[in-house]
């Protein structure tokens, strides 16, 4: 049996933030996640680092939190934030009167709104609709959810925080009205065991009701599904918002090599991350007000995530507050040392974690102050290391690898390639992922599938959506001879199915042709479905 002070359930942004904060305050903590890190809501969003402008009119507090955290994450999470701007544009379809209200609200919240001449806007963003009436430059940016989580966990681990992925909570153990531990199951080995703790925090977002149910507690979390569309390339260089009351499909975020359009808001089951073709069509229609030629751009795939909206009352969807809720089950339901945290946004996850830890630590007798806003998540690479990296990686690959893996792992990658230059070969040509990087991530104890490697490298997330990198990646990990790399058919199917899931609702145009090529390679040439030849 493992013993720790705090168990955190949920490997998303909230849980990660709490693990890092507790670890930095010197509290022993273990985080458990039923899947891979960030496979829930925290990676299924725009990748937008809010400026707060979107919430300024309706929710001043949320807006202020956003702008504060925006500045902090740009500083501590340099490798995960693309330091671009966000541009709010008012199209002819948007209410003119809202513009003044919005400007006033942004001013009050301390969010800068620099007016942009339309000629300047079109120079910066040549693809934006020429019908735009006015535009403002705000400090929004793009943030890589997977990468930030990965780096938060790295930082937490350095401070002693532990993480167990593919570990599902099946029971909450309590004695005398107090939580004393959890019963968990390893999803791979199926082993069931207990972890003893003094405090339990459920940071499971839209799954909070289900986890609380394990202790017989009812809480009102309303999962609200948002779908997003990923386009094949950067159609804008800055985040483009519609200047109107927050609504569906009104944000475009240039994110890495792609652009993401979102989102929708539909009450749903937390495990439902499907998107219908109707939703896509609906979003495309709205998106055309921002980019008139939107349909000329190729859709790569769609994805969806569930917002963990918490409501003490009955509001849901866009009317529910984006604020977060920390529910002390001791006070509310008579089960002490148990807290559920839900609601909130990726942008403000650090501040949420700080507030939660400020509540939890005194219970544990810890009075240390939060320092998460002061310490960068990962170290900067030395100039010398970057030079060595540029010498061994193909063009455009060194900086990307450094951003994804951080200085420490990069140094190892460089050493590996210096020793064997074949490891510098690119496995994923769309996202420039080298064999060395795949090897290093596959060796990590949290990796159990090609999808796990994808989340840490962007393998298979580009134009070909796995057509050419899947067999290369499977071949690469197979040579590592790990338990999970033995069944290659399973590796193929898991990854291709996951890619296919996001493509199915957008099966037209070039993507349709791409899928047919993929099918030709895997189903026909490689016979991945093992159709036996029938003997006569």
């Amino acid at each position: 049996m493992l013993t720790t002070e705090v168990v955190i359930i949920g490997g998303g942004a909230t849980g990660a933030g709490i693990l890092r904060d507790l670890s930095m305050r010197g509290v022993k903590a273990i985080l458990i996640e039923r899947g891979d890190l960030g496979c829930g809501t925290s990676s299924r969003f725009h990748g937008l680092l809010h400026s707060g402008g979107r919430y300024a009119v309706r929710d001043k507090n949320a807006a202020i939190e956003c702008i504060e955290e925006n500045q902090i994450l740009r500083r501590i999470g340099k490798h995960c934030v693309e330091p671009i701007s966000s541009i709010f544009i008012r199209t002819p379809e948007d209410d003119e009167a809202y513009e003044g209200t919005w400007l006033e609200a942004c001013k009050e919240a301390g969010i800068s709104t620099k007016p942009l001449e339309l000629s300047k806007l079109f120079e910066m963003e040549p693809n934006v609709s020429r019908k735009v009436k006015s535009a403002y430059l705000c400090p929004g940016a793009a943030i890589d959810g997977f990468r930030m989580l990965w780096q938060i966990f790295d930082s937490a681990n350095r401070h002693g925080g532990k993480t167990l992925t593919y570990t599902n909570v099946i029971g909450i153990d309590s004695e005398n009205g107090k939580v004393v531990g959890v019963t968990v199951q390893d999803m791979h080995s199926k082993e069931i065991y207990k972890i003893a703790c003094n405090y339990l925090i459920s940071a499971t977002g839209p799954w909070c009701s289900r986890v609380a149910q394990l202790a017989g507690i009812d809480i009102n979390v309303k999962p609200s599904k948002g779908s997003l569309i990923a386009f094949n390339h950067r159609i804008c260089t800055n985040v483009i918002h519609r200047l109107h009351k927050p609504s569906d499909a009104d944000i475009f975020v240039p994110h890495g090599t792609v652009t993401i359009l979102g989102t929708t808001s539909i009450d749903s089951d937390p495990d439902d991350n499907s998107t219908s073709q109707e939703e896509v069509e609906c979003m495309m229609k709205i998106g055309e007000a921002t980019f008139e030629n939107l349909r000329d751009y190729r859709i790569l795939r769609v994805f969806a995530g569930c917002r963990p909206l918490y409501s003490a009352g009955n509001s849901s969807g866009r009317n529910a507050s984006r604020d977060f809720a920390a529910i002390d089950h001791g006070k509310e339901h008579g089960l002490a040392n148990f807290m559920s945290v839900c609601g909130g946004k990726f942008t403000t996850h650090r501040q949420m974690a700080q507030k939660v830890c400020d509540m939890v630590c005194p219970v544990l007798g810890n009075t240390a102050k939060c320092t998460t806003h002061e310490v960068p998540l990962i170290e900067e690479p030395s100039e010398q290391l970057m030079q060595r990296a540029k010498a061994v990686f193909p063009s455009y690959a060194a900086e990307l690898a450094e951003n994804r893996q951080g200085a420490q792992r990069l140094e190892q990658l460089v050493k590996d390639i210096e020793k064997d230059n074949k490891l510098g070969e690119i496995v994923c040509e769309c996202e420039n992922v080298s064999r060395a990087e795949i090897n290093a991530v596959a060796e990590d104890s949290t990796s159990h599938s090609i999808s796990d490697i994808r989340r840490r490298t962007r393998l298979g997330m580009g134009t070909c959506q796995g057509t050419f990198c899947t067999y290369r990646a499977v071949g690469t990990v197979k040579s590592l001879k790990k338990d999970w790399t033995e069944d290659t058919s399973k590796l193929f199917r898991e990854f291709l199915e996951a890619r296919w899931k996001g493509i199915r609702p957008v099966l037209w145009g070039n993507q349709m042709r791409d899928v047919d090529l993929t099918r030709g390679i895997y189903e026909v040439s490689l016979n991945i479905n093992h159709e036996e030849k029938k003997h006569e």
């Binding site: 040549p126 094949n232 390339h233 090599t257 540029k390 455009y396 134009t463």
Partner: protein
């Protein structure tokens, strides 16, 4: 920066067919192929900047564009990226010199004896090793300059008045290096009762500048040439080229690079000289009073002709001439690809690419080579022991004019 239509890499489905057709990727591992350099890295270049030595290795031969089942303008993405690279990095001296072909040609052919001195000077400079110093290969087959430009020679030809007129775009090579091709064209067309017009306001199509990474400068040339071409096309006058590269730039690349509307007005009226004559032959309009010639020729298809997708008219037409046997070399790209074959760093790749063609020609029992492209012909003559001519040369010979 000029607005470039081909910023959009979305047509590519990463099938890699282009890689199998790329002569450069086959010749050197320094180039990782058209798909990666073109559409794949176009996406990454929108995200990060980096030194990219691969950019200089695309020869712009356009075999990638030809085989692409998705219609991706791969080579244009490459040229666009190369041009963007030179916004922040200096051009080599060789690129500066080689992209100035028009000015050099104009100057040298307009002064008496200047060409003799220039050609001699080139030999001496080459012998003295000065080519290497500026980054040009002394092994590559450089063209020589003509004594008199084509436009000067054209003025002294008295043409019969004909109802049918065509406009000829001679391009720099015919104008300054091998005016004989233009002269042959005028005679062959006149023989078929077609008068040839030229327009003194034409400028270089811009191909060497595109290859050397000066796309912005090309826009100026594109504006001038496309306006002239459109004005003739509107009068129903067909436009004839002999240089397959000029043709490709005028017909297609101006539109890919600059979205010039005028291109659509004239490009359906543009024909390669031999394509035009073959069309006439097929309609029964071409004079067939050919003499028997008794020669065997080996034909090389220029890459820039292949990509235009109108077959191999030369192979068909020359074989109609009694006593002429034309065989297809079918030996891939000549490698030179304009200035690519002359810059030291790419000349060695060009030499590898072109070696198959050279070997094929050398070992062939044909008397001479035949090819539409001027630069290809230089490679066909380079250490093969055979001369290479434009097909108009044989046609004029057969007419006995």
């Amino acid at each position: 920066m000029a607005k470039l239509k081909s910023d959009n890499p979305d047509q590519c489905i990463s099938c890699n067919i282009c890689l199998t057709a790329c002569p450069v990727a086959r010749a050197t591992r320094k180039y990782r192929g058209p798909k990666l350099t073109g559409p794949a890295l176009t996406r990454l270049r929108m995200l990060i900047e980096d030194q990219d030595p691969m950019l200089q290795y695309c020869s712009n031969c356009k075999n990638c564009d030809r085989v692409c089942p998705s219609g991706t303008p791969i080579s244009t993405l490459n040229m666009k990226a190369r041009s963007a690279y030179y916004k922040k990095n200096p051009h080599t001296l060789a690129e500066k010199i080689l992209s100035n072909n028009e000015l050099m040609g104009k100057t040298i052919t307009s002064i008496p004896f200047a060409s003799t001195i220039a050609n001699l000077g080139m030999k001496i400079t080459k012998a003295a090793g000065a080519f290497e110093i500026v980054g040009m290969s002394s092994k590559a087959p450089f063209p020589t300059y003509a004594k008199k430009s084509f436009s000067a020679m054209f003025k002294s030809i008295s043409q019969p008045k004909c109802d049918k007129k065509v406009l000829f775009f001679p391009g720099c090579y015919v104008n300054y290096n091998e005016p004989q091709v233009g002269v042959d064209l005028v005679h062959v067309f006149n023989h078929n009762n077609i008068e040839v017009l030229i327009d003194d306001n034409f400028v270089c199509c811009g191909s060497p500048m595109i290859s050397a990474g000066y796309i912005d400068k090309v826009q100026h040339n594109a504006d001038i040439n496309s306006k002239i071409l459109a004005s003739y096309a509107k009068q129903g006058i067909d436009i004839i080229t002999t240089c397959t590269t000029c043709a490709l730039i005028l017909k297609q690349e101006y539109d890919e690079l600059f979205e010039l509307e005028a291109v659509k007005e004239y490009n359906v009226h543009m024909y390669d000289a031999i394509e035009y004559l073959l069309n006439m032959y097929e309609r029964g309009e071409l004079k067939t009073d050919f003499k028997t010639l008794n020669k065997k020729e080996i034909y090389h298809t220029p890459c820039h002709l292949k990509v235009q997708g109108y077959g191999k008219p030369t192979l068909k037409l020359l074989n109609k001439i009694p006593g002429v046997e034309v065989v297809d070399a079918d030996a891939g790209c000549c490698g030179l690809s304009g200035i690519y074959g002359y810059k030291t760093n790419t000349a060695e790749v060009a030499a590898i690419v072109g070696s198959k063609l050279q070997k094929t020609i050398k070992e062939s029992d044909a008397h001479e080579g035949v090819c539409e492209c001027n630069i290809c012909r230089l490679q066909m003559q380079n250490n093969t022991g055979k001369k290479a001519y434009h097909p108009l040369h044989t046609i004029r010979q057969a007419y006995g004019i």
